[in-house]
Symmetry: C2
Subunit: 177 residues, 2 copies
């Protein structure tokens, strides 16, 4: 982090309450997502993807840039999903595990969300802790992570848990105790 | 306001930064809306409706109740529009002009929004000021208000401006100078 992009702690002195603005904005528009997706380059053929994001229409670009400056990580990018929106959508996105574990998760542990989104955040941070411990590199750990993802956001069935690997070879995915 | 429901100013001492959480949450999920709707009980046959609202799924009810406590006005009600959502939606809603003019508008003037939603807020407060001055009771004033509403939110054409009264009798709706 450069001195021109102060972190949350430095920023606090310049803009009192900025942390709580960030908490409120993320309570409103933030998304903590974990996906287990096919990737033949990974040892188990599946990769765990993690992202913290906030989406806005283009006229609110400066608010997303405030988030980027505040956290000192992530990028503001064009959203590929346009859904029903007529305007260009932008997304503040943090995907690097080091940034999530080192910056984003500690911030929201210190400054808790006030909506039900905090339950998604808790599952998100649980998965990241498991990954820091290397659990996603084992079949049992990957299954646990996929089960957690089913409780997040849109509560979709995990494609990994529906896959032939997980269904046809149950003994290989049993959690070791 | 009872002492058990402290206003924003009192609340600040209990929960530092609560104002900025409110600003951030409203930047994310708030809506400032003005509608000019048919109402034969009104002098001109049209009524100006105003609402500040924040919508959440039912599991985040407590966050909406925080807003109600913070502002010391408004209600948490069930949203009648369900759209594509599977969950019950709740809405924190302030409609009374006295609450909007006396509490909501001064709060966001003192604690500005950081997204493009601030432009909607500015139009919203402009309309309320016009109403405080009685301008909505004149045809010229009503036309000005309807023109402002077309610049807000979904930027829909005003039904009032498309109505036969406004189209067929242009001279009656000309702004007096």
């Amino acid at each position: 982090m450069s001195s021109e992009n102060p972190s949350g702690a430095d920023n606090q002195q310049e803009r009192p309450g900025i942390e709580q603005w960030v908490v409120g904005f993320v309570d409103g528009e933030g998304c903590f997502s974990i996906s287990v997706v096919r990737n033949q380059g990974c040892r188990l053929g599946w990769q765990v993807q993690h992202e913290f994001s906030v989406t806005q229409a283009a006229p609110s670009r400066s608010a997303l840039e405030e988030l980027s400056t505040f956290f000192g990580c992530g990028y503001v990018i064009e959203n590929q999903r346009t859904d029903n929106h007529r305007e260009l959508l932008l997304r503040f996105s943090v995907k690097r595990r080091g940034d999530l574990v080192g910056t984003v998760v500690p911030f929201f542990e210190e400054h808790p969300l006030r909506t039900a989104k905090r339950f998604d955040f808790e599952r998100f941070s649980t998965v990241l802790r498991k990954m820091e411990a290397g659990e996603h590199l084992t079949e049992a750990g990957l299954r646990q992570i996929a089960q957690i993802t089913e409780q997040m956001n849109r509560r979709q069935r995990s494609r990994f848990l529906e896959s032939s690997e997980a269904i046809r070879q149950p003994s290989r995915f049993r959690t070791s105790s």
